[in-house]
Amino acid sequence: MKAELRRWALAGAAALALGLGAASTTEAKTFKWANAGDVSSMDPYYRNETFLLAFLENIYDPLVRRDEKLGLEPALAVKWGQMSPTTWFFDLRPNVKFHDGSPFTADDVVFSLNRASSGGSNLKGNFTSVKEIRKVNDHRVEVDTKYPDPLLASKWALILIMSKAWAEKNNAAVAADATKNEENFATRNAMGTGGFMLKERRAGEKTVLVPNPNWWDKPKHNLTEVIFTPIPNPATRVAALKAGDIDMMYEVPPQDTDGLKRDANLKVIEGPETRVVYLGFDHERDELLESNIKGKNPFKDRRVREAFHRSIDVQAIRRAVMRGQSFPTNLMVAPGINGYVKELDKRPPLLKPEEAKKLLADAGYPDGFETGMDCPNDRYVNDEKICQAVVAMLARIGIKVNLLAQTRSKYFSKILRKADNSPGETSFFMLGWSPATTYDVHNVFESLIQTPNKETKKGLFNVGGYSNKKVDELSDKMEQETDTEKRDAMIYEATKLYTEDYAYIPLHQQAVIWAARKNIELHQPADNRFPLRFVQVK
């Protein structure tokens, strides 16, 4: 009995010594960061949203990924290219393992690509050109397209690859549908090949990642643990950073930027973002869901849209709400995106309230009308405050706007188009878009402006169903046009069409502002992704 006790004690002491030894050789580098809202899901196809995709890019790898300069570099595919104009190949990296130790093969790629283009996936828009995806052998996948699609590889830089065996075992082989608030095993768990593994996930509270020791890539970070916490209140978030409770804050509230810059323990990292924040109308229904006008849809009338567009003073929003940190625009794409037409980026002059009221009266609404409006309150910089300002500006022309500002998950479920291609449940909404897959204007036409079509998977994010045949035609043509001059002419024409039609009300590009403690080194890409693999804690 006594001998046994002693043996246990010895074993315990040895274990303790080992543990201490390990701790002293690799110093724990915990990195804590916060954002206004939580990652909506751990499922990489749940929502086509930069924050979600960027967060999960740390856990899952794509075939081809973006490097520091936003160029393409090999990830799970070591080589890729076009064998013929309509056939792509991807040669996969050998000896890659998922976090559970199972090997990564072509089966996982075929499974993931099919999962991302079917079921409740929100990423179907990246598969418009795809005809067939097939496995050639364990380390090669080929893709047939219906027509030449030179941008396929860059579109797929944000399609993350999941484990087939894991998803099938856990009944998550089909992507959950965000618009129906569906959930499955992959919503709260993750199994990828990426540089970080999901250790703990408590939705709305805390998400903990630890580095993957068997990652195929050589890590550029020195982290041992990453803790992400959503902190909705901006003042609390700022206070947490100043106090050192968090090391980094993603999306700093503009009103606090100056204060943070003055703090010697912090640094502010800023740059313009490629995202355009805009307002959109329901063009599709014959009667608005949330309005006092019955039997017709006022937003089908161009004069109504013009009155709205030209009554919203983006410069005032820039000054008061964004504290100067926004770049007002009249286009749906930002400078720096291929196909941005500078000559057309001029907002038409503001109307006086009487003039706008006259436009409304001509359209048949002399007393204005009432409409609902949907807005997130934790997605874009100062989103709810921008919407409140818009409500006030429209009130002056006799439009009573009933604003509903909600947290991103509820808001997205309400406004996005449903899987059966019916329009989102909204009359007037705010949304932001960045063509971060291809950095080309065609992505914007295809996703936001073309007539929604379930078969061709175009217009999937055209929430209000704007439809203009001429624009559809031009957009389809520019997708395959290789002559830059001809293509630019098409872009110019299509851009002119949608701006003159007041299809949307583009507001501004927000500035990307992050703040971190002085001892943190990180890399900020212009698409507002935050890759943990470049983070160093000094």
Partner: protein, 307 residues
């Protein structure tokens, strides 16, 4: 009794004397009356109607209070928030809502508590035991938690838009339901004393119904302590409402009370625009302090043992 006679007797009374002899109470009364007037006359007195979006102009946004900056403007004496709403007018309208919720919740709690207390004390037996154990159970939860629970249940049942419309009723109900216990216990205690007195027995002998005896004969004799509790609870109810609104579960930002204003201002607390949050905060503190001082004084003045 003529008016002059009434005035003479009032001026001669103990309560008036104790009121007059305490400058703190005179001040508290003055401040309370001032806030009450300013709040309830806000549609007439307030320089702007801040929650009518048609009157707002973003160009007026973020003006500092007068004397605190170059672009200050006398039309906005306490400055404006980032939507161009006048802070002074927001406070006046907000105080009105806070007071309405405070009074309504207190009245609701009082009516509920008195009714349950009367029944409990007068009927006795199993009914008494049931009501009092219920009260004991509820006393173990802080009032704020009970209010949060009730509000949470209502939110789960109805949509967000609908909730904003009825938020004020929900909040009154939630605060009222969380404050009834004190009244019930006090009333029950007094009823137990009163019900054995001769006048109650006399009423019973001549055949009056129990309801009539409770309301007409017992109730007037237990009202003193109830009024004292009500005054003290008024301050507490206003604070609870402010706390709920500050946590974002109270009144919506389209119809803000003082608590909602503090929550909205708190978002920009660290960015230099201090006036958006400081002034509603001061108003709330002063209001609750004044009401509480009045409550304390009333408790002492009505307590014969302290005279």
């Amino acid at each position: 009794m003529s008016l002059a006679e009434f005035a003479r007797r009032a001026a001669d009374s103990d309560i008036w004397y104790s009121f007059r002899s305490s400058p703190v109470v005179v001040w508290a009364t003055g401040v309370t009356l001032f806030i009450l007037l300013a709040a309830f006359l806000s549609p007439v007195l307030a320089p702007h109607t801040p929650f009518d979006p048609a009157t707002l102009n973003l160009m007026d946004a973020l003006k500092p209070p007068v004397f605190f900056g170059d672009d200050a403007d006398w039309t906005f004496p306490l400055g404006t928030d980032e939507q161009g709403r006048d802070v002074l007018s927001s406070i006046m309208y907000g105080t009105r809502l806070s007071l309405v919720v405070g009074f309504a919740a207190t009245a609701f709690a009082m009516v509920l508590g008195i009714a349950l207390g009367l029944v409990s004390g007068y009927v006795g037996g199993a009914v008494d035991a049931f009501i009092m154990r219920l009260a004991d159970v509820q006393l173990t939860f802080p009032a704020l938690l009970v209010a949060l629970l009730i509000d949470g249940v209502v939110r789960g049942l109805i949509s967000v838009q609908r909730h904003d419309e009825i938020a004020i009723y929900v909040i009154v109900g939630a605060i009222g339901l969380s404050f009834w216990v004190q009244y019930a216990r006090t009333v029950r205690g007094s009823v137990l004393v009163e019900k054995n007195k001769e006048y109650v027995q006399a009423a019973r002998v001549i055949g009056l119904s129990p309801v009539l005896i409770m309301v007409r004969h017992v109730l007037p004799n237990v009202m003193g302590p109830v009024l004292v509790i009500a005054t003290i609870n008024l301050g507490l109810a206003i604070l609870t409402e402010a706390t709920l609104s500050f946590l974002g579960v109270g009144l919506p930002s389209t119809e803000p009370s003082l608590g909602t204003l503090i929550r909205l201002g708190n978002d920009v607390l660290l960015s230099g625009t201090w006036w958006i949050v400081i002034f509603p905060g001061i108003t709330l503190a002063v209001l609750v302090l004044a009401v509480n001082l009045l409550g304390d004084w009333l408790r002492d003045a009505l307590n014969p043992k302290l005279r």
